[in-house]
Symmetry: C2
Subunit: 206 residues, 2 copies
Amino acid sequence: MKIAVIGNGHIGAGLGRAWAKAGHGVTFGSRDPGGEELRAMCQELGASAAPVAEAARGAEVVALAVPYGALDGVLQAAGDLAGKVVIDCTNAVEAGMRLKYGGATSAAEELQKRLPGAKVFKSFNAQGAENLTDPVYGGVPATNFFCGDDAAGRAVVKRLVEDVGFDAVDAGPLSSARYVEPLMLLWVTASRALGTRDVAFKLLRR
Amino acid sequence: MKIAVIGNGHIGAGLGRAWAKAGHGVTFGSRDPGGEELRAMCQELGASAAPVAEAARGAEVVALAVPYGALDGVLQAAGDLAGKVVIDCTNAVEAGMRLKYGGATSAAEELQKRLPGAKVFKSFNAQGAENLTDPVYGGVPATNFFCGDDAAGRAVVKRLVEDVGFDAVDAGPLSSARYVEPLMLLWVTASRALGTRDVAFKLLRR
C-alpha cells in the first residue's frame, strides 16, 4: 500500500518505520524533504521523502502525524485528499490538558467536515511513540482503537493498525472519536502517575 | 469499613456483593428498603438495607450507583455528605450517546461543586456489571481507574477497587474524570462491535 506519513516526529517516524518494515511504500511528507535527519531515516527504512502535496498525491492512505497546531498548514499544503483514507493521529489539546472538542463532536469529526471527500479515521492518538516500536507487553499486544465511517477504509486501517503490532479494535463510526480522543489524556495522566511511558491500553476479552 | 451503596441495580448490587464478601459492612440505601428482592439479597450477602439518609449517615464511604437521572433525588434524600468519601459511579449520558459534560468539566467535578465538603471520587463507571463479579480475564485483572482530590480518600478508594478484584490505577485529580468518564462509551461501543459484554479495559505496564 502507498502511504504518505505527514510529519516525521516521534509518532510519524514510528508509524513510517513500522509500515515500511511491513512492506508498504512509505513517503514522508515534509516541508523540508531534503533535511539531513529525514534523509538518513528514509535511507535506513527504504522510505522516501517529498513535499506534503507530492507525498499525498501519490498515496492511497495519508496519516496525519503532526502537532495539532500544524494541522491547518498541512491541510493547505496537502491539496485534495478526496477518495483517500486519512488517518487522524492528532490530539487537539489546549492549555491545561483540555480537549478542544468533546461531547457532541470531536477533532476527527471536525476534520471530516473540512475534508468531505476523504475517508477520515481516528487512530494512533493514544499511545507514546515507544509503543509504536514495541506494542507487545509480556506477550500481550496492546490495543489500538480505530473508528471511521467508510466500510472499505476500515479494513485498510485495521490492517495498518495490525501491521504496527497492535491488537486492532474497531470502535465504530467516526463519532466514536469523542471517546477515543480522551484516551490520550488518560494515557498521559496514568503515565505520569506511574512514572513510566511504558504503559498502554488493552481491551481484554474472554 | 462502613459503606453505603446507594442503588441496588446491577452495578450497586455488584459492588455491594464484592465489598460484603471482602468483609466490609454494606448498607444499601434505597427508597424501598423493605422490598422483597433487596431483602433477599441482603440476607444472602450479610448486608442491610435502609432509607438513603440513614444508610449515608452511618457510612464512611457512599457509593452512588444510580442512573444519572436519579441523582438529584438521591442527593436531596441523602442529607449532608460532608467528610465522607463519595464514589461517583454514574454516567451522565444524554440521547445519542453524548456525555453531558466534557472538555473543561465532568460529571464528577459538577458533583463535587454540589457537595463541597465531601471527598468525591470517580470510579466504577466504565465496565459492565459482569466485570464486578469476575474482573479477571485469563489470569489478568482488568483495570479500574479512579480519580479524586483527597489524599486520605484515595487510599480508601484504591483498596475498595482492589477489593472488587480489579487492578486499581490512580488517574490523579478529580479533573481526570474528563478522561475517565468517556471510557464508558468506549466500553459500550467496543462491546457492541465485538458482540459481547465480556470486555474490560487494562492498563498494561512492563
